[in-house]
Amino acid sequence: MTGIRHGIRFYVGNECHTLADVAPTRTLLDWLREDRGLTGTKEGCNEGDCGACTVLVVRLEGERLVWRAVNACIQFVSMLDGAQVLTIEDVRAPDGSLHPVQQAMVDQHGSQCGFCTPGFVMSMVAGRKADGLAQDEHAIDDMLAGNLCRCTGYAPIVRAMRHAVQAGPDHFDAMAGEIADRLRALRDGATVELDGPAGRLTIPADADALARVMVAHPDARIVAGATDVGLWVTKGMRDLPHVVAIGQVPDLRRIECNKDGVYLGAAVTWQEARAVLADILPQPDAEVIRRIGSVQVRNSGTVCGNIANGSPIGDGPPVLIAAGAKLHLRRGDVRRVIALEDFFIDYGRQDRAPGEFVEGVSIPRPGADTVIRAWKVSKRFDQDISAILGAFSLTFAPDGAIASARVAFGGMAATPRRASRTEAALEGHRWDETTLAAARQAIMADFAPITDMRASDWYRRTVAANLLTRLHADCGPENARADISVRAACANAGGHAHG
C-alpha cells in the first residue's frame, strides 16, 4: 500500500499521458479520436461488435508482456492505468516501412473500402503475438471473429494472415524491452482516486481496498472489462457517477487450478479463463467459451462480470451452473459462497446485498464418471448472442444409470436457469431412448421461453429438446458420433479441395 495517486498514467505510442480530469466513462475511442486526433482507429458500431476500433493494449503481468486486442469503443480510458496502448498509427515501423501484416494486406488486396482495415490490422498484429502463433484456418477465424468486413468476404484477409504469420519478427518485438521498462516504471501499487465534475474514479490497490470502497459507497459501479457496462454508456448514455475499476487489481486476477478444480478471481478475463477451463471441461464446452464474444471481448470481459450482470443470455453462467460452480461473494470482511444458480433471482435481480461484490468463482473438476457437454445455438456461429445455450452434466453410476444430472439453459428464461424437471427425468435412469423421450417431454414443462429478434418461442423449445437428442447421440450408450454438428462436419471437408 503506497498511498493514493490522483491521476491515471498510460502510454499511447511513445508518449506517456497523465490524466487527472478525464471522465471515468470517457471511452478510449472518443479520447483517441476527439482529444488526441488519432483518427486511424474507426468507430463502426460503438458497441464492441464490429472491431473497427480495435487497438492493442500491452501490459506487464509479472515480468511478462501481454499483448491484447481490445475494442476501444467500450474500453474506458480510466481502465488503462499502467498500460501501453498501441494504435494503427504505431504499426508502421519507425523507418516508415510497412509492418508485415500491413504489407500482406496490401499484397493480397485485403482492403476494399478500407474502413474496417485498421481494426483488422490490429487484430492480426495482436494475433501474431498470441501464444502458439495462429497457423490453421480455425485459429485465423477465431482471431478475426471480432472484426466485421462488408466488402471482401474475408478471403483476401485470411490469405494475408497466412502470409503474415510466416513473416519474421516485427518492430514491436524490438520494442518489447523498452515497453516493459516503461510499464515497470509506472508501477507504484497506489490506489487511484479521481474526483471531478465528470465523475469519480477509484482504482483500488487490492481486494481489501475494494471491499472498503464498496461498503462506503455501495452505489459505486464496479467495472472490470466494461464489455457490458461500456454499452450502458455508449448506447444507454447512462451516467455512472462513481466508477470502481477492478480490472487490474492483483488479487482479483488470481487463477488457481488444482486437483479439485479452478478458482477464478473477479478480474480474470474469458480469454485467460479459457485455457484453464479447457483443462477441466471437454472440447465442446471449450468451444462454447471460444464463442463468447470475440478475442477483443474475451480479452476485456471477465467471467465474473458475465455472472454479475445477470444477463438471461450470458453464455458463461449456464455452462458454469451445469459444471456446479460456486460464487464467492464479499461485503467488507464478510464472505459467503453460494451455488451459482442461486445468484440469479429474477430478470435484473441477483442475490447481492448493497456493498457486496463478486470476488471470484470456483468450478469443481468433474470426476471420471461425469460427462459435461454444452452447445450454443445462435443465428451466426461466431460473435453472436445465444438464441439458446444448453449445458449438461451427467454423472453415471457404475451400473450405467444416470446418478445425477445438472441441466442449465440460457436464453430460455429471464435468467440462466436449471431445468429441474428434465434433471428429474434423467436421474436414476439409463440414458436410453425412453429416458430421452421423457427428458424431451420434461424440458417443455421446464421452460416457457419468449419470442424475440433472435428466435421464436417455438424454436427455443424445439432446439432445447433437440439438444437433449444431440446429448444422447454424443454421449449415449452407443458410440459417440463425430458428425453431430455442422462445424465438426466442415472440419473434415478439406479433402474436397478443388482439383
Binding site: G40, L98, C113, I140
Partner: protein, 793 residues
C-alpha cells in the same frame, strides 16, 4: 459535334481491347494493380469524413427520430433539449428556408423533417446541434413529442389487406398469351416465395460535414454515392442555385447502394445548420440511428404460376412481385422494375407476364442495394426452376440448361430485348465440370442416406445481369484530366470510390493511354466543382461510364500532344507513340515530362473534359419495352452446404464461381468484387434477418442483433475464377464488363443448396419451398414441415 469524341465513330473503339501481349503497361488496364489507397488503408491514414480536421467551432448534429410507426404529431416540446448542456440549437421543419423535400425522384413524398405526421418509426423529426456529439446524443433524448397513433401498415400482407397505395406505378411486362400458355401447358404448378430485406451495413455510417462559405455558398463533404443529387437536394432545401453548393467525397467506407439516396438527409441537415449558424456542422449517425432511419433492400413476396413440359421446359410464367417499399417512393420504382427485369434470370420464358406491386408501408423507405431488386427476381426464377426439377424428377441443373437463353432462338426477354450475348448454356456445364458437380452431388446423396442429423446439399446457379441504368439518361459520365508541366497527371471523374476500386481502374486507364506509372497519375476527390451533372455510382456502371469519359479526356490531350510532337520534332503523327519507356517520337524516345514541358512552352492546352454516353440503349417504362441494357454480365456458382437437423445451423462447405468480367480491367479487384459480393449475397439469404416488432420498431438495429457474415462464415473452400478469353462483344472500356452487382447474385446458390439438403428429408420428392433468409430457425421449420408434412405450431 466535337471532332475527337470517341462516340463520333462507333468503331473508333474497335481496337480498344489490346491485342494479346502488346501495349499492356505494367500496372495499366488489365493488370492486377493494388487499390490506389491500399497503403493508406492499412496504415489508418486514408481519411474518411469523420477523420477530417474539424473547422473551428464545428457543431455536431444528432437527429431526433420518431418513436411511432404512423402518427399525427400533436405537440413537440423541445425546451429541455435546448437547455441541455452543450446544445447550441434545435431545428425543425419550420427552420428550412427552401423545400422540405428530399424525394430523389421528385415525388414530393419525403420531407427532410416531419411536419404534422410521422410515417415510420425512426423518421427524423428535429435535429439537435451541440458542441460535442455526445452532448447532442444526450440532449436528443429529452424531447417530449406527443403523438396520436394512426393505423400502421408494416408489411406486404398488411399493405395488401388494407389496400395500401403503391409508391410507384406498377409495371407489367408481357409477351404472348400467358393465360392460354398456362392452360395448355402439359404440367402446371404455382407457389409463393418470400425473400427478406437486407441492411447495407457499410462499416462507415452516414456522415456529412458542411461548411458555410461566402454569400450563401456551402461546401458539403458527404459520404455519398451520388454527389450531384446531394448537391441538388442541398440546394433545394436551402433554396439556392446549384452553383452555390459544392459536394465532395474522396472515399466512402462502403456504400452498396445505401449511400445513393440515403446520404442526402445527413448532408441536407448539416448544410441547414451550417447555413443557419455560419459554423461548420457535422452529422455522423450513430449505428443504431443509422439502421433505424435509413432504407434497406426491399423484401418481396412473389407468387408464381408456371406451365412446363414433362422434360422440364418452361412454356409459360405468370408472376406477381410485391415489395415492401416503406413510407416513400425513394428509388422503389426502378428497384421493383429491376426485379421484373431479372425474374427470368438466365431463362427463356415463351409466354410470360410479370407484374409488380410496389407497396407503401410504415417502415424505412427501402432503397438501392447492390443488385437493385435484381437478386430478388433471380430468387423467384430459381425457385421456379427448382419446383420444375422436383415436379419432373430432373436434376435442377438439367432444368436450368433446358431453359437457358439461346443465342439464335429462344433469346428474347420478357421486355422484348434480344439477348445477343448469352453464354449460360456453356458456362453452367463448364463450371459443373470444373467443380465436379455430378460426383459431389452423388456424394451428398450418399452421405445423407446414412446421416441422422446432418444433411448435405449442393446447387449450381447461373446469373445473367443487365448492365446499364434503366433510367436511360443516367447512362452518361464526365471526366476532367489535367496534365501538369512536370508530366504528372491528375484524373477526376464523376464516379465515387466506396471500396470497389473504381479510382484504381480509372488511374489504370490513364496510365495505359499515356504509358505512365502509378506514381505519375493521381486521382482526386470526386467533387461537383470539377465534374458536374454526374450520375450515381451505381448499377455496376462506375467503370463502364467513367472509364470511357476518362479515356475520352486523356485521348483529347494525347491528340494535342501528338500534333505538337509531330510538328515540333518534324515526324509524322503516326510516329509518336506513348509507351512505358517513354514517348517514342520517330527514332527518339523522350521522357513524358520533357514532352509536356515543351508542349507548355508551345502553349498547348493539357487539360480536357471527357464525356461518354452509352450507345444503343432505350427503354420505355410505360410500355415495358425496349433495350434497357447495353449488355449482360454472366456467371455461375456452385455451393455445397451442410445443415443440422436438430438446430437448423448451416455451414457453407465449398463454393466454386466462374464469372464473366469480360476483358477484366483489373483481375485482382474483380475477384475481390466476386468474393465479397458472394459472401454479401449469401449473408442476405442466410444469417441476415431484419425483425420489426408490432409497433413497427426495427429490433435488429445494430451488429449485436443484425448478423452479417463473419470471418468463419466464409466458405472453407472458395474457388473464384474469371472466365478466360471473354472480351465484351460491346465496345466497353477496353472490352471489360461491369462487376459490382452480378456476383452478389451467386449467393442464390447457397439458398438452393440448403433447399437441396432439406429435400433429402423426403427422398427428394417435394420442393422444400425454403424461403429467405434461411436462418437456423427457418431451416428447422422447413425440416419439421418436410418430416411431418405440416408447418410447426
Amino acid at each position: 459535334m466535337r471532332e475527337d469524341t470517341p462516340m463520333a465513330d462507333g468503331n473508333s473503339f474497335a481496337n480498344a481491347s489490346p491485342p494479346a501481349g502488346d501495349g499492356i503497361v505494367p500496372g495499366g488496364a488489365s493488370d492486377s494493380l493494388r487499390h490506389e489507397s491500399a497503403a493508406m488503408h492499412v496504415q489508418g491514414s486514408a481519411t474518411y469524413i469523420d477523420d477530417l480536421p474539424e473547422p473551428r467551432g464545428t457543431l455536431h448534429l444528432v437527429p431526433g427520430l420518431s418513436t411511432r410507426a404512423h402518427a399525427r404529431i400533436l405537440s413537440m416540446d423541445l425546451d429541455a433539449v435546448r437547455q441541455a448542456d452543450g446544445v447550441v440549437g434545435v431545428y425543425t421543419a419550420a427552420d428550412i428556408p427552401g423545400d422540405n423535400q428530399i424525394s430523389p425522384v421528385g415525388k414530393g413524398d419525403e420531407p427532410l423533417l416531419a411536419t404534422t405526421e410521422v410515417s415510420f418509426y425512426g423518421q427524423p423529426v428535429f435535429v439537435v446541434a451541440a458542441t460535442t456529439r455526445n452532448a447532442a446524443r444526450r440532449a436528443v433524448r429529452l424531447a417530449k413529442v406527443e403523438y396520436e397513433d394512426l393505423p400502421a401498415i408494416l408489411n406486404v400482407a398488411e399493405a395488401r389487406a388494407a389496400g395500401s397505395p403503391m409508391v410507384w406505378r406498377p409495371m407489367e411486362m408481357k409477351r404472348g398469351d400467358v393465360v392460354a400458355g398456362l392452360e395448355h401447358a402439359p404440367r402446371r404448378l404455382s407457389g409463393r416465395v418470400t425473400v427478406g430485406g437486407q441492411e447495407h451495413f457499410y462499416l462507415e455510417g452516414q456522415v456529412a460535414l458542411a461548411r458555410p462559405g461566402e454569400e450563401g455558398e456551402v461546401h458539403v463533404t458527404s459520404s455519398t454515392q451520388h454527389p450531384t443529387e446531394t448537391q441538388h437536394m442541398v440546394a433545394h432545401v436551402l433554396d439556392r442555385p446549384a452553383n452555390l453548393v459544392t459536394v465532395e467525397v474522396r472515399r466512402m467506407g462502403g456504400g452498396f447502394g445505401g449511400k445513393e439516396t440515403q446520404a442526402n438527409a445527413c448532408a441536407c441537415l448539416a448544410a441547414l445548420v451550417a447555413d443557419r449558424m455560419g459554423r461548420a456542422a457535422k452529422m455522423r449517425l450513430d449505428r443504431d440511428d443509422d439502421m433505424t432511419m435509413t432504407g434497406k433492400r426491399h423484401d418481396f413476396v412473389i407468387d408464381y404460376d408456371v406451365g412446363f413440359t414433362d422434360e422440364g421446359r418452361i412454356v409459360a410464367v405468370d408472376m406477381v412481385l410485391a415489395a415492401r417499399c416503406g413510407w416513400s417512393a425513394d428509388l422503389s420504382g426502378p428497384v421493383i422494375d429491376r426485379a421484373l427485369f431479372h425474374a427470368d434470370n438466365a431463362y427463356f420464358y415463351p409466354d410470360v407476364r410479370l407484374r409488380s406491386e410496389p407497396l407503401r408501408t410504415n417502415t424505412q423507405s427501402n432503397t438501392a442495394y447492390r443488385g437493385f431488386g435484381g437478386p430478388q427476381g433471380v430468387v423467384a426464377a430459381e425457385r421456379v426452376i427448382e419446383e420444375i426439377a422436383f415436379a419432373t424428377g430432373l436434376d435442377p441443373l438439367a432444368v436450368r440448361l433446358r431453359n437457358a437463353y439461346g443465342t439464335h432462338d429462344r433469346n428474347v426477354t420478357p421486355y422484348n430485348m434480344v439477348v445477343e450475348d448469352s453464354i449460360t448454356a456453356e458456362l453452367l456445364p463448364e463450371l459443373a465440370r470444373r467443380c465436379h458437380y455430378e460426383k459431389r452431388r452423388e456424394a451428398c446423396r450418399a452421405f445423407n442416406a446414412g446421416s441422422p442429423y446432418l444433411r448435405r446439399g449442393i446447387a449450381i446457379t447461373p446469373v445473367k445481369f443487365g448492365i446499364s441504368f434503366t433510367a436511360t439518361h443516367y447512362n452518361q459520365a464526365g471526366a476532367l484530366v489535367h496534365v501538369y508541366t512536370d508530366g504528372s497527371v491528375q484524373v477526376n471523374h464523376g464516379g465515387t470510390e466506396m471500396g470497389q476500386g473504381l479510382h484504381t481502374k480509372m488511374v489504370q486507364v490513364a496510365m495505359r493511354e499515356l504509358g505512365l506509372g502509378t506514381d505519375q497519375v493521381r486521382i482526386t476527390a470526386t467533387t461537383t466543382g470539377k465534374v458536374p451533372n454526374t450520375s450515381a455510382t451505381a448499377a455496376s456502371s462506375g467503370a463502364d461510364l467513367n472509364g470511357m469519359a476518362v479515356l475520352d479526356a486523356v485521348r483529347r490531350i494525347k491528340r494535342r500532344l501528338v500534333e505538337f510532337a509531330a510538328a515540333h520534332w518534324n515526324v509524322g503523327e503516326d510516329e509518336v507513340r506513348f509507351a512505358p519507356d517513354g514517348v517514342h517520337v520517330g527514332q527518339k524516345v523522350i521522357a513524358f515530362s520533357h514532352l509536356t514541358r515543351q508542349a507548355y512552352f508551345a502553349r498547348v492546352s493539357m487539360s480536357a473534359n471527357g464525356f461518354y454516353k452509352t450507345p444503343k440503349i432505350s427503354w420505355n417504362g410505360d410500355t415495358g419495352q425496349g433495350r434497357p441494357f447495353y449488355y449482360f454480365a454472366y456467371g455461375a456458382a456452385c455451393s455445397e452446404v451442410v445443415i443440422d437437423l436438430l438446430t437448423g445451423e448451416m455451414k457453407i462447405d465449398r463454393v466454386d464461381i466462374l464469372h464473366d468480367a469480360g476483358q477484366s480491367l483489373n483481375p485482382a479487384l474483380d475477384i475481390g468484387q466476386i468474393e465479397g459480393g458472394f459472401v454479401q449475397g449469401a449473408g442476405w439469404l442466410t444469417c441476415e434477418e431484419l425483425v420489426w416488432d408490432r409497433a413497427g420498431r426495427l429490433r435488429t438495429h445494430a451488429p449485436s442483433t443484425y448478423k452479417i457474415p463473419a470471418c468463419s462464415d466464409r466458405p472453407r473452400v472458395f474457388n473464384v475464377e474469371l472466365l478466360e478469353n471473354a472480351p465484351n462483344r460491346e465496345h466497353t472500356i477496353f472490352r471489360s464488363k461491369a462487376v459490382g452487382e452480378p456476383p452478389f447474385v451467386h449467393g442464390v446458390s447457397v439458398l438452393q443448396a440448403v433447399s437441396d439438403a432439406l429435400a433429402s428429408l423426403d427422398g427428394y420428392r417435394t420442393c422444400p419451398r425454403l424461403d429467405a433468409p434461411a436462418t437456423p430457425e427457418m431451416i428447422l421449420r422447413v425440416a419439421e414441415r418436410m418430416r411431418h408434412g405440416s408447418p410447426p405450431a
